[in-house]
């Protein structure tokens, strides 16, 4: 649980400017929120976000495996991928 909170905080810090520009509050983002389908991030920005998280957590994500879950681009899916 601690790890999940840590990853969520990292994600929020990385997308903070984007959320502010769109007037979206962090508290409004639940785990099912899809970062790409919502239009918050485009594909390239999402991959950049993953790359930043990889750097911060010193681990490499298997995109193929994570994308197969169908939920990787959701906030919850992203957090799960990095906290598992």
């Amino acid at each position: 649980m601690m790890k999940e909170i840590e990853i969520r905080n990292q994600v929020m810090a990385l997308i903070h400017d984007k959320l502010a520009r769109l007037s979206v509050k962090e508290s409004e983002l639940g785990y099912p929120f899809d970062l790409v389908k919502s239009g918050l991030l485009n594909s390239l920005e999402f991959v950049d976000l993953v790359a930043s998280l990889e750097k911060e957590n010193d681990r490499e994500i298997d995109f193929e495996k994570e994308l197969a879950t169908g939920a990787f681009t959701t906030l919850g899916g992203l957090i799960k991928a990095f906290s598992s």
Binding site: V47, E64, L67
Partner: protein, 324 residues
């Protein structure tokens, strides 16, 4: 296209473009004109492409170069991942040699063809088949050549000075539109009649050079060129050099009028270390002439995009001016 490439009835063509994008017509008409199969993904996001290719086993691929670029960044272009592909076409953007190489790695049985064609000369008006031997690939600024203009069309290069190697590509022929609909102003800006052959040409706004074999090289948009201390500088060229550095993941270079210098807005793959500015300056000095080295490097978390999904250079400049 049918005469140039050996499409077969057994081929399976991809169709991953939005129907509002003229490139979508290419796949549909080619496939159906020879009775071949068209395979369309449920989800056209770049994320889904790897699985789509493996599941549907297309033999003919067509996409903008950002699709392989993104898949490459996601480490999805592993060796021999897409053995079904035998022809891969790219069009719509500059094809970077690194991304083409990664695609070839993943689709070793495929020939790669880089197409070029503005909407006014749709769909493609020139093409370059990349040789099997990578060392023979023709590139400029890290961008793969767009090859020769197809039969039935011709081109000329509008150069500022006759001795210039580069200039604006102008097109004429049976694929080029005659005019815009009810827009005389745009017609005046974009079309002209050449005094030598008295033919009507379309000014593409794309800067190109050409080699001795007649292969064209895309060098960026005309409006991406500026003059600094009398030297002509292509902003795209500076961006490409920055992108080749280890830590830069995104680079946008703009000309700042009031300081008459280049500003480089950079997204780094890591938190900028204390000596980042010095290292980047030294790196650029080792790769670029002095007048192309940016006067300032500005680290940003992200590059802003406008409503059309294109880089918002005006916003970058505005933010910079507000902060100074």
């Amino acid at each position: 296209m049918l005469e140039t490439y050996d499409f077969e009835r057994d081929d399976r063509f991809t169709q991953i473009f939005d129907l509002t994008f003229d490139l979508s017509v290419h796949d549909m008409l080619l496939a159906w004109s020879i009775g071949a199969c068209l395979v369309v993904p449920d989800d056209s996001s770049s994320f889904a492409m790897s699985r789509f290719i493996r599941d549907k086993k297309p033999t003919v691929w067509f996409s903008v170069p950002s699709v392989p670029a993104l898949m490459n960044r996601m480490r999805l272009l592993k060796p021999d991942t897409f053995p079904s592909l035998r022809l891969s076409f790219f069009c719509g953007e500059a094809l970077m040699a690194g991304d083409a190489r990664a695609w070839k790695f993943a689709a070793p049985n495929s020939s790669l063809i880089n197409l070029y064609g503005p909407t006014e000369a749709t769909i493609a008006i020139s093409g370059y088949s990349l040789p099997g031997d990578e060392t023979k690939w023709k590139t400029a600024l890290g961008i793969v050549s767009v090859g020769k203009v197809f039969d039935g069309n011709k081109y000329l290069i509008l150069r500022e000075n006759p001795s210039d190697a580069r200039g604006e590509l102008c097109l004429c022929g049976n694929q080029v539109v005659e005019k815009y609909l009810d827009n005389e102003e745009a017609d005046k800006q974009s079309f002209f009649t050449d005094a030598d052959d008295m033919e009507r040409y379309y000014k593409t706004g794309d800067m190109v050079s050409v080699d001795e074999q007649g292969d064209l090289f895309y060098l960026g948009r005309k409006d991406s060129e500026v003059k600094i201390s009398g030297y002509r500088v292509n902003l795209k060229e500076v961006e490409n050099v920055l992108l080749e550095s280890e830590t830069v993941t995104q680079a946008v270079v703009v000309y700042h009028d009031s300081s008459m210098s280049l500003l480089a807005f950079l997204v780094l793959s890591e938190i900028p270390p204390g000596d980042a500015l010095q290292k980047l300056t030294e790196y650029c000095q080792s790769r670029l002439p002095w007048y192309m080295v940016p006067g300032k490097f500005i680290f940003v978390k992200e590059i802003p995009l406008n409503d059309n999904g294109k880089i918002d250079r005006k916003q970058l400049l505005k933010k910079y001016d507000e902060g100074n």
